[in-house]
C-alpha cells in the first residue's frame, strides 16, 4: 500500500514540476491494471488535497489503432480537475509541460447523474450539451514511452483541456468531420467515427468504468470522449485550432 502511495507521489510530482520520469514498469514489470488505477486515484487525491476540484473524466485508447498499438482491447480513463482547464483562445505556457501534444476531441457535459451499465439511449438522455475540445496530453514518462499500467497511473496522460461552446446534442454526432489546423493549415483530419465507431460508446464505457471504482458522472461533469486523430506535438508560437462539423471551433496559442 505504501508503495502505491510512493508511486502516486512520484507521478504527481512529475506532473506538477513538468519533469520526465522513467517508466514505473521498468522497476515493477508486474504492476497490474488495478494497482495502476489505484496509483492514479491516489495521485488525484493529492491534487484535490491541494485545493483542485474534480470536473469530470477523460477516456483514452478509444481508437482501434491505438488499442492495437498498446496491445489492449479495452479503453482507459482518467480524472480531470479544474487546474487542467485552459482558457479558450488564450495562450498555453509551453514551459509547464514535458512534451505537450494536442488532440481534437468531443466533450460531453452531463445534465443528469450516470453510472454503471447503461444503454446509449440512457447515456445520451443524461447529456446536456456537447462541445468541440482539445486535450493537451503530456506523458510524464521519458520520450512518451510507456506500458499500459504506466499510462493509467499517469492519469492517462491527461494534463490540459481547452473547451469550446456547448450546443444541445440534437443531431447525429457519429460522423462529424474534424480538422486540427496549425497557423491556418490543416495538420490532422478525421471524423468522430474514429471514437469507437460512435463517440456515445465512449460515454457508455465511461459510466461503466467509473462505477467500477465507486464513482459516478454527476450533473455538470464533463466527459472527454477520446482522441479522433493523431496528436500534434506543440511548438512555441503555434496557433492551434480544431473545427468540428456542426459543433464549432476551439483554439489556443502556444506561448513560452
Amino acid at each position: 500500500m505504501t508503495a502505491l502511495h510512493e508511486l502516486a507521489l512520484r507521478v504527481d510530482e512529475a506532473a506538477r514540476n513538468a519533469t520526465a520520469i522513467p517508466q514505473i514498469t521498468d522497476e515493477l514489470p508486474n504492476l497490474g491494471i488495478d494497482d495502476a488505477y489505484a496509483i492514479q486515484a491516489l495521485s488525484i487525491r493529492r491534487r484535490l488535497e491541494r485545493g483542485e476540484r474534480r470536473i469530470g473524466v477523460k477516456m483514452g485508447l478509444t481508437s482501434r489503432a491505438k488499442m492495437i498499438q498498446v496491445g489492449v482491447d479495452e479503453v482507459i480513463w482518467g480524472r480531470l480537475t479544474d487546474a487542467m482547464l485552459l482558457e479558450e483562445g488564450a495562450s498555453l505556457s509551453r514551459a509547464r509541460y514535458v512534451h505537450p501534444r494536442a488532440e481534437p476531441e468531443v466533450v460531453y457535459r452531463m445534465g443528469r447523474r450516470l453510472a454503471g451499465k447503461v444503454t446509449a439511449l440512457e447515456a445520451m438522455a443524461a447529456v446536456e450539451g456537447v462541445a468541440p475540445a482539445m486535450e493537451i496530453i503530456d506523458s510524464r514518462y521519458q520520450a512518451f514511452r510507456f506500458a499500459l499500467p504506466d499510462v493509467i497511473a499517469d492519469n492517462s496522460s491527461s494534463s490540459g483541456l481547452v473547451i469550446g461552446s456547448f450546443v444541445k446534442p440534437s443531431f447525429d454526432l457519429s460522423n462529424l468531420g474534424v480538422v486540427l489546423s496549425v497557423d491556418g493549415m490543416p495538420r490532422q483530419i478525421g471524423s468522430t467515427a474514429a471514437i469507437l465507431g460512435n463517440p456515445v460508446r465512449s460515454l457508455v464505457a465511461a459510466a461503466r468504468m467509473v462505477a467500477q471504482w465507486g464513482e459516478s458522472l454527476e450533473p455538470g461533469d464533463i466527459v472527454m470522449a477520446g482522441g479522433i486523430t493523431a496528436a500534434h506535438a506543440l511548438s512555441i508560437g503555434e496557433y492551434v485550432q480544431t473545427d468540428i462539423e456542426g459543433l464549432g471551433r476551439v483554439a489556443i496559442t502556444v506561448g513560452d
Binding site: 460522423n175 468531420g177 474534424v178 490543416p186 483530419i189 478525421g190 471524423s191 465507431g197 462539423e245
Partner: protein, 265 residues
C-alpha cells in the same frame, strides 16, 4: 548490360496485357523513354484511345493524389487524373467482382455529377459549383497493374491513375445539403472503422480539386462534359479489401453507400 528502353505505345500495350492477364508488371519508370509526367499521360491517353476504339464509354474522370502525403509518396506537387468508363461503375449495394481489380484497395470519396460542360478559358470555382447537379458518396476501388503498388508518378499516371471500379451512392444531394469541407467520412467493415477523414483531406476542398481537374481537362483537350461523373479524391487513407468483405462508406450529409466484395474462387 542495359535493356533497350520502351516507347509510349509499348508501355501502353504492357499495361493492357496486365489488365487482360491479371498479372501485374514491373514499374515502368525505369524502362520507358523520357520517364516524366508528359510521357506518363501520353501512355494513359494511348490506352484511353484504345479503349474508346474498343467501344468502352467514357463517363467521367477520377482525381488522384489529392493529399500531400500521397503526393510526397509519388513525387508529385499536384494531383493526377484518370479516365472513368461506364463498365467501371457499380450501384449502391451491388456485389463487386473484385477479381477484376489488381491488388484492390478502397477509398471514400465524394462523386459529382455535371449538368453542364466545363469548357472554356479561365474557369472559376463558381463555374464548377454551377455545373454540379448533385453529389453522392462513392467508394472507389483502386488497383495497380504495377507489382506490389511499387509506384511513382510515371507508373500511376500511365496506369490510368491506379483506377479500378467505383460504387455510387443512391442519395444524390445538391451542394447546399452538406458541407464539402467539414463533412465527416467513415468507411467501415464489420462495424470497424477502416478509414476516417473529412472533406478537407481532399486538397483542402473537393470542389477546388474538381476545379483543378476541369482546367486540366480543357488544357489537354478533353474538357469535362454535361453528364460526366467526377470522383473528386480520397477523404481519408486507403484501406485494403479482400473477397467476402462488406464495406460501408458514410459521408456526413450524403448518406451511405455499401458494397460486397465477391469471394475469390
Amino acid at each position: 548490360m542495359t535493356e533497350a528502353l520502351i516507347n509510349v505505345e509499348q508501355a501502353a500495350a504492357l499495361l493492357r496485357d496486365a489488365v487482360a492477364t491479371g498479372t501485374p508488371i514491373a514499374p515502368l519508370r525505369d524502362r520507358v523513354e523520357n520517364p516524366d509526367a508528359a510521357t506518363a499521360y501520353a501512355i494513359q491517353e494511348a490506352n484511353t484511345r484504345h479503349w474508346i476504339g474498343e467501344g468502352r464509354r467514357l463517363v467521367g474522370r477520377k482525381i488522384g493524389a489529392t493529399s500531400k502525403a500521397v503526393q510526397n509518396l509519388l513525387g508529385l506537387d499536384q494531383p493526377d487524373y484518370g479516365m472513368l468508363f461506364a463498365d467501371m461503375a457499380f450501384g449502391d449495394g451491388e456485389t463487386i467482382p473484385v477479381a477484376r481489380v489488381s491488388q484492390p484497395k478502397v477509398e471514400g470519396e465524394i462523386a459529382f455529377y455535371l449538368r453542364d460542360d466545363l469548357d472554356g478559358d479561365a474557369l472559376t470555382l463558381a463555374d464548377v459549383m454551377h455545373a454540379i447537379e448533385y453529389a453522392v458518396a462513392a467508394i472507389e476501388i483502386v488497383g495497380s497493374r504495377i507489382a506490389d503498388w511499387n509506384i511513382k508518378i510515371v507508373d500511376t499516371v500511365a496506369d490510368n491513375a491506379s483506377s479500378g471500379l467505383y460504387v455510387l451512392g443512391s442519395q444524390p444531394r445538391p451542394l447546399t445539403a452538406f458541407d464539402p469541407v467539414l463533412c465527416g467520412m467513415v468507411m467501415s467493415c464489420r462495424g470497424e472503422p477502416i478509414s476516417t477523414g473529412a472533406g478537407i483531406a481532399c486538397l483542402g476542398n473537393p470542389l477546388v480539386a474538381t476545379l483543378w481537374l476541369a482546367k486540366k481537362m480543357v488544357e489537354v483537350g478533353r474538357p469535362l462534359k454535361k453528364g460526366d461523373t467526377i470522383l473528386s479524391g480520397a477523404l481519408g487513407p486507403l484501406a485494403p479489401v479482400k473477397g467476402g468483405d462488406v464495406v460501408e462508406l458514410r459521408i456526413s450529409g450524403l448518406g451511405a453507400v455499401r458494397c460486397r466484395f465477391e469471394e475469390e474462387a
